[in-house]
Each structure stands twice: as structure tokens, then as C-alpha cells.
Symmetry: C2
Subunit: 551 residues, 2 copies
């Protein structure tokens, strides 16, 4: 195959939920769509954040004309502060998206960034691409999909979307504008998050009905926890509070921050006098107060966790309070959400949450919507994006169902390079597109070997052995020292450790007798015999770090 | 309150899913109902198994007349091998329950155990208690609930149950026998696992219909993974295979084991010639084979994981195979199940699982069944058991709904002692009833401090510092040695570590100049300055273990 004149490279978001990032590259130019982060999986011990490996982009930064962010969620914006340390390019987003990004970049002390506000009525013209923006509904306002016209054909990217037919802000997904591309799209890329869910995703307004109902029945204080970026949800909570004669206090750093940005930019309509400070709220009659809080994922340091655990400085949950967790647990957070629910029940609250009440709906299209979207656009080629492998696979099955040829459906992985040649799209090769770990200040300095060590340390702990050897007399001086962490309780295992010292002593004395002094051999022998000894006695394998001091 | 003549003490299973264990104690006698294990939570690093703290029982072992096991699931039997190391008492269970327990105890090399088979038609008469057994439906055959008649009143324990109106083995829950106690029960304890689920739990046979449908449509090999103890499910898989003209090969140690026990004892009816060895199966036409396998929880070493990852010695998943995961992910296993599904899809299989197909139903009663059970029995006091705190709470709300007085509903925790005094039941006090960790050969030798160390090690790793000090000249000999694990990649951090050595050197030299030589002070100072240095440079806090060798 000749060198492709147009390439699409997913750098993240395929085979995973999070760190979405897509490269579109012509001969002369390159754009990046989204730059998201992902939360670490349980076994990525100690990792704070996972980023896409964007070295491909950094190496070609001269070509980079635009970073286009489809909407303001962290899994689409979270890698930006790290990407911007490596390169500069204008960031395109709608008003709210840019508002949220600016606040994030300020926290990272990044300045001199070029922001270009997207007006979805207008398109962005580069030399080799013309990019149009199409409004989509999602669980954050102001999201867009993209139509990218190139010499080789048109590419449509759905962004994250659902088909809410009567959205809270009155701004439906622009069906007609997607339909305008019908039959003219070479490649369509579409959000697969809910491809396993049959039917339609419930409209956001249905949550408003449930919230109003629950809040109106509450006799004491009401606390509602949700995603801080879910502006429509926050709007509905405020509206319900006002209808029920309650004042709203906003609680939790990101909630305060986002409510500020969204209301300043006009995305949140706060009726005059409906908001009070938390300080004031705690002096008011509980039946007149609603607290809008962070913590819907059971994060241990969040406002909700601290209220439930009675460690919050201002609010504490008391019997009779109503707590509504208006969110779903993000995969991996099931346990921590379950824990906060138990804690709230123990504090005496009436607790309402997704699995027992209609207090949350998804922001992603379900199967019928995905089918409709495919039929609206009728692309020649289709690549499911944004989702675990099984979501991509289900989305591919949907495309097959409406008659697409399986060879035109590309279930790709991060790093697969889609080359466009005349009228066809094929995966031509693969580039590295793994994960970059952020741990504290370190970005990418921690790799698989550190993670593997952390896993070993977490499983059986570590044993530290210090032995002093007189290299002249070839004798061990004193008794070996053994220190352990995470291996066994010190007191109960004192005999085990004492016997282990004898094992070390005997090992070294034996080695010294038969061989010349060799640090490496000695250390290996100590590691081997001690490991065997511990395994026989405990069936555990702590990491063993011997130090042999020569005097 | 006078010393209660009858006590009930939950030692496990309240506020958690797993390690069920209940003590019933009169003045002269004691029985234990169930002795289960629990799988460790994610943050209990390195722990293999969690047991109830049964020291209360061990201390009173002279009084212990019977260990009654309601059914053969691990969360009701798994602590038995450990309990039997501490004491001996006859174990009561139905035929299948005992069959499964015997096999488990044999693995632990425990002999001389007294087994007493329960015949649910007959009751067990102790001096101060008469115990009747009532058959219940559950996701394993041969389960029972208990009615315990004592001088102070009758206690009913539901076991784990559902109301399957037409169960696979034709043995319904004995509604009439529960109803015979109506109005005469002082305390009822009932399974709360599904107290959040509205309506009725679907009957087990409904899964059979789905399985038959999926298997009949498969063109190549079919693999079904389920719980090895789910004998009804295994029966339905075998029946479906036979109907569809497939031979069944059984795969995975516990599956082979349980199929053997259950068919030997007559709980599994295997049509003649329907089972083949795995060796044979792999030579047969794929369309004539069904493999019944373990691995429904995504366990990395299970048969299914190895087949998917192509590391199984005999079978490997190939494109066009059908894989059915006929189970739900146990809480905490969502991620690993999700991973195995992705792996199977990547291997080219058509994969069916709970969230997209009707291939699993629960074994626990949902709200309507729980209400029905409460109304059948009409107890004076009610204690929800078996479930997270929120399940107990929801079960309590159901009891309130049918008119029970809130003060007669006891939402208790493990270790709460329920004292019976005349006609009332009250929580009188609390005994220790925490968790006992099993790690390798160690039972209970690992406590919170080791777990905490493992968590610290997992988060930021460890740094080992060795410094040699000449106590006469008060000088450091050579350069400090620093070793790290799980903290930072060695090569990239060589400058960091080298500078850290200087920090250590300066710290010790400063201390030696101003003070007399003191190991404790020196070590603390090294820990403090190095910790601060690392935190400033990396925002990480590895554990620091300094050793100061005096020469």
C-alpha cells in the first residue's frame, strides 16, 4: 500500500473507558481530537492518573494545527495539562468546555495557551481539512461532534452523545446536521459506551421528576451528590429545591468551582436568592435546606464522605436526613460507593441511589440511538470508539445488523493506524500507544517494573537483611539484622525472624568457607535460602533485600 | 437486665456478604449455624481469605453441641477447616452439603470429624433446644432453614433462600412448614442479600430456556462457565447439551470435583454417554461439544481464563466459538469478569453474559418473596441477616411495611449479643467479632498494621538506606547505600537517588557533630530529612528504612 495521504490514529479510548484521544493527520497537517485522562485500575498501585502515550503527537508537533475538545469531561480534557508541557497548539472548544479547561490549566499554572472558542454555526478551515461542529446532547452541556472534510473524504466523529428528545437546556442533538452528511461519509466514529444497553437512554428530565418527588417528601435536610460537571443535573436539583421551598448550599471544591463557571457563562440559571453559603445553611431549619455536594463516587476525602463520617467541618448527617446519590458508580468504584451508602444508612439517613430509585440516567446513547445514528449517516466505513473492547464489539454488531459489510467495520485498538487510500480505509500498522502513569510529580517515570514491585510488596511485603562481614577474617561480625514491612507482625513472628537470622548466618558462613568473597553470589544465596525458608514456613514470598557490609 | 438465658450472636454475615456464622447459646448448650469465609476486599493486600473471629466459640467449646451448616456454599462452609483446628463438634448438614464439606476437609487433611446427616423430616433434639430443618430453594441443592425451639421461644433462621415455584429438582421451599410456625416465632432471622431488588427473583428454569436457545444456535464449540457448586445450573447445561446433540466435557478442578460428588450422591442426573473426557472432546467436531467450565468470576488461573488467553493445555478459544458466562460477577469481581469478556471477544468468540442475555438468575429472594416470608411467619422480633448494611436496612423497611413495630426490628452488627428475656429480644452488649485474615499458612498472624504497611508499600514503595558509621571517629565510612523498590525506576532516578545519598550523609554528619551517638535519633533524623526530600522532589512518600552500622 502506498503511503496513506490521510491517517486516523486512536491514541486512547478504544478498549477502555477513559483517556480518549484521536489523531487525524494529512500530509501537511495534524489535529488532535480530545486529550483525556483515565483513573488507574485497582492493581496500578499508587498511580494517580493514567494518560495516553502521546509521543506520536509530540514528535510531529510542527504539524499540529489544533487540539479540538468535544466536551468538558475529564476523560476528554484531563491529559491537556500534560500535553501542553510538551507542545503548544490552539485549543478549540465551545464556551463551557473552554471555561472548564481554563480553570483546570490555571491549577497547573499553565499560561500563554491559545484558546479558540467554537461557534457550532461556523466551521474551522485548515489548509487540508474543513471541520464543522455539530451539537450533541450529553451529561454535560455544550458538547459537539465533528465532521471533518478532507480531499480523501469526510470523517464524522460523534463525540459522546445521547438522543435526548427534550433536553433540559432545550438544545437537542442536531440530527439534521448529521443527516446532511448521509451517504457522504467515508468513516464514521461513534461513542460505544452504552452499546450493550438495549432500547433508548432515558431523558435527563425524567431524573428531575424523581428528584422533585423525593425532595418534596423529605422532612429534614436533603443532600444531593452528583458529578460536579453535570450542569443539567445541578440545574434540575436547584429547580427542585426552589419548587420545594429549600435554599441550596453548594459543597465540595469541584462543585463550587463548576457551579461558578457554569452560572457565570450562562449555562446554569440560578434563581435569585436560591443559593446560600454553607455557613448560613447550617443555621437554617433543616427542612429549608438542600446541600448540593461532590462525593457521588464514594471518594474518601469528598464532602459527602466527610459528612457521613462526621469529619466534615460544617455539616454532618443526622438521623432523618435524606441523601440522594444522583450518579452511577463509574466502573471500579462500586465498592467505595457501596461503602458510602452503608455509612449514610448507619448515620440514620434515608438514602436513595441508582439501583433502588430513578435518580440517575446515563449520558450515552443506547442501542436504538446508535442504530438511528448509523442510519442517519450511512457511512461507508465505521469504527466504534469510546468503550471497552466488548462495547466496541457490540457496536460493530449493531452496524452489521443494519447491513454494513463486516469488512467495512473496523474494530480497532489504541495505536492502530487507519490509512485512507482512494475509497477504502484499512488498518495499515500499529504505533506504540500504551499508558503513561502520573504518580505525584512524576509523569511517565514509573513503568511496569515499579508497578510490578508494588504488587509484590502489597502481596507479601519485604524483608531487609543487613550482614556485616569482615573480609580479612572471612567472618560474620555480630548477628544479621532483619527488618520487615508488610510481611508479618513483629511480635508474633519473633521466633520466625530469629530463626531466619540463623539461616542467613549459616548461608553466609558456608559461602565464605568455600568461596572467595563475592558480593553478588552472597546476596543471591541469602535471597535464595531465606526465600525458601520463609515460603516453607509461611507460604509467602516477601521481597528480600540483602545488604552485605564489608569491613 | 438479668443474665439472659438465651443468646443469639451473629459472628459474621451482617454488614457484609460472606463469612456467615451465628451462635445460639442457652445456659447449658451452644450451637453454631454456618461457618463461612469471605473473599478479601481489594485493599486487604495479599490476604487469601477472611474468616469470622470465632474466639467466642473456641472459649466455650465445652458447650458446643453442634455445628449446623445450612448449605454447601463457601460463605457458609469455608471457615470450617479453621474452626476444626481449634475444636471438635459434630457437623450437621444434608447429604450434598456434607458431601461438599468432606471433600473440602480432605484437602485440609482433617480427619476424625463427626458428620451427622440431616434428614429434614426429623428434628435434632438437644437438651435445651429442638431443631427442625425446613427445605429451601437456593442456587445449590439441599439447603435448609432452621426452626429452633427453646424454653424461651422459637427462633427461625431462613438460611439462604428464594421462592422458586417450579424448581429444577422439583423440591420447592417448604412453605407449609414455615407457615406452621406462624405467630409462634419469637425471633425470625432472614436472608437479606436481595432486599434491594423489587419483585420476585426469576425461576432457575428460565435460565434453562435461554441456554437451550443459545446452544442450539451455536455452530462451533460451546463453553459454559458457571459456579462449580451450582448443581441445578450444571444440570440444565447438561440437559441443554443433550437436547442439542452435544457431548459435555467438564473442565476446571472444582467443577470436576463437584460434578463427581453431586452425581455420585444423586443430585445430578447425567444421561449415559453424555459426558466425555476433555482429551476426547478436543478430537471431536466442535459442533458436537460443550465444555462446562470454571472461571465465571474471571479468576486469572481458572480454566476459562486460560482457554481465552491460550495458555490452557487442551482447549483454546477460536473464532466462532460460543462462550456463555452463566453467573453474575460477585461484588468486587466486576473488573476481572469484564476483562475475561474482552479477552474472549478478542479471541473471536460470541460471548453471552448476564448484562446482555438471560443466562443467570439469582439464588436469593427479592422483595416480594421476603415480604411473603415475613407474612408466612409473622414473627414477634425480626433480625435481617446475610447482607451489606444497606441490604439489612432495606429488609428492615420491608418488615416495617407489613406492620411490624420498628422497636421489634433489630438491625444488628456482627458481635451484637441478642439477649432473650421473657418475651422480648434486645441487643444487650457487644463482643469482639472482627475479621481473621488467612495469608498463606498464617491464620490470624496478620493484623491491621501489616495490612497498613502493605498499603503504604503499594502506594509509594520503600527506600532502604544503609550507612556505616565509625563510632570512635564519629565519621561516616564510605557513601550511604540506597536501595528502592516500588518507588521509582532505577535508571531514570539515578540523580534523585544520588542526591538522596548526599542528604543522608549531611544529616548524619550534622547529627554526629552536635550529639553523642544515638541509633534511634540518627535513624529518625534520616527518615525525616529523606522523607521530606523525596516528597519535595516527587510528591511521594516511600517508607524509609535506615540501618546504621556501627564499626
Amino acid at each position: 500500500m502506498a503511503k496513506a495521504k490521510l491517517k486516523i490514529i486512536p491514541l486512547g479510548g478504544l478498549g477502555e473507558v477513559g483517556k480518549n484521544m484521536m489523531v487525524v493527520e494529512t500530509e501537511s497537517e495534524m489535529i488532535v481530537i480530545d486529550a483525556g485522562q483515565m483513573f488507574p485500575e485497582e492493581e496500578m498501585y499508587g498511580i494517580d492518573l493514567v494518560l495516553p502515550d502521546f509521543s506520536y503527537v509530540v514528535k510531529r508537533k510542527q504539524k499540529l494545527k489544533a487540539i479540538i475538545i468535544t466536551h468538558g469531561h475529564e476523560d476528554h480534557t484531563g491529559a491537556l495539562p500534560y500535553l501542553l508541557r510538551e507542545l503548544r497548539a490552539p485549543i478549540y472548544g465551545t464556551k463551557l468546555t473552554l471555561g472548564l479547561i481554563k480553570s483546570k490549566l490555571a491549577e497547573h499554572h499553565l499560561s500563554k495557551v491559545q484558546f479558540r472558542e467554537i461557534d457550532p454555526e461556523k466551521s474551522l478551515k485548515l489548509q487540508s481539512m474543513k471541520i464543522s461542529f455539530i451539537r450533541v446532547c450529553h451529561s454535560i452541556p455544550d458538547g459537539v461532534g465533528l465532521a471533518i472534510e478532507t480531499q480523501l473524504g469526510t470523517i464524522v466523529h460523534s463525540g459522546d452523545f445521547k438522543f435526548d428528545q427534550a433536553p433540559v437546556d432545550g438544545r437537542s442533538t442536531e440530527f439534521d446536521r448529521f443527516a446532511a452528511y448521509a451517504g457522504k461519509v467515508l468513516l464514521f466514529m461513534s461513542d460505544s459506551t452504552n452499546a450493550e444497553s438495549p432500547g433508548y437512554t432515558e431523558p435527563e428530565k425524567s431524573v428531575g421528576v424523581s428528584l422533585r418527588d423525593l425532595i418534596s417528601r423529605a422532612n429534614q435536610r436533603v443532600v444531593v451528590a452528583s458529578f460536579a460537571s453535570h450542569i443539567h443535573r445541578i440545574q434540575q436539583v436547584i429547580d427542585a429545591a426552589v419548587v420545594c421551598g429549600r435554599k441550596v448550599a453548594v459543597c465540595g471544591r469541584s462543585m463550587v468551582n463548576n457551579v461558578g463557571i457554569a452560572s457565570e457563562l450562562g449555562y446554569l440559571k440560578i434563581p435569585k436568592g436560591s443559593i446560600v453559603e454553607l455557613n448560613e445553611a447550617k443555621k437554617m431549619k433543616p427542612s429549608k435546606v438542600l446541600i448540593m455536594s461532590t462525593g457521588s463516587q464514594g471518594e474518601p476525602m469528598s464532602a459527602l464522605s466527610r459528612m457521613a463520617g462526621k469529619t466534615h467541618r460544617q455539616v454532618e448527617i443526622t438521623p432523618g436526613d435524606t441523601v440522594i446519590i444522583s450518579a452511577n458508580p463509574v466502573p471500579g468504584n462500586e465498592k467505595s460507593v457501596s461503602r458510602i451508602i452503608d455509612l449514610l444508612f448507619k448515620a440514620g439517613a434515608d438514602v436513595y441511589y441508582k439501583s433502588v430509585s430513578d435518580v440517575h440516567v446515563s449520558g450515552h446513547a443506547a442501542q436504538e440511538e446508535l442504530l438511528m445514528m448509523l442510519n442517519l449517516i450511512r457511512p461507508k466505513f465505521f469504527m466504534p470508539i469510546h468503550g471497552e473492547y466488548r462495547h466496541l464489539k457490540y457496536h460493530a454488531l449493531l452496524a452489521k445488523k443494519i447491513g454494513m459489510s463486516p469488512k467495512n467495520i473496523l474494530v480497532a485498538e489504541n495505536g492502530d493506524v487507519l490509512g485512507f487510500d482512494g475509497n477504502s480505509v484499512r488498518i495499515t500498522h500499529k504505533i506504540p500507544a500504551g499508558m503513561t502513569f502520573v504518580d505525584g510529580l512524576g509523569v511517565g517515570d514509573i513503568g511496569d517494573s515499579v508497578i510490578r514491585d508494588r504488587q509484590l510488596l502489597a502481596r507479601d511485603g519485604i524483608c531487609i537483611v543487613v550482614v556485616i562481614v569482615n573480609t580479612h577474617t572471612k567472618q560474620v561480625v555480630g548477628r544479621p539484622e532483619i527488618n520487615s514491612k508488610g510481611f508479618t507482625e513483629t511480635e508474633e513472628a519473633s521466633k520466625l525472624i530469629d530463626d531466619a537470622k540463623t539461616v542467613v548466618l549459616e548461608t553466609i558462613e558456608r559461602e565464605l568457607n568455600i568461596k572467595v568473597f563475592d558480593q553478588v553470589i552472597l546476596r543471591n544465596e541469602v535471597r535464595r535460602t531465606l526465600s525458601k525458608y520463609f515460603y516453607d514456613k509461611t507460604k509467602r514470598r516477601p521481597i528480600i533485600i540483602p545488604t552485605i557490609v564489608e569491613i
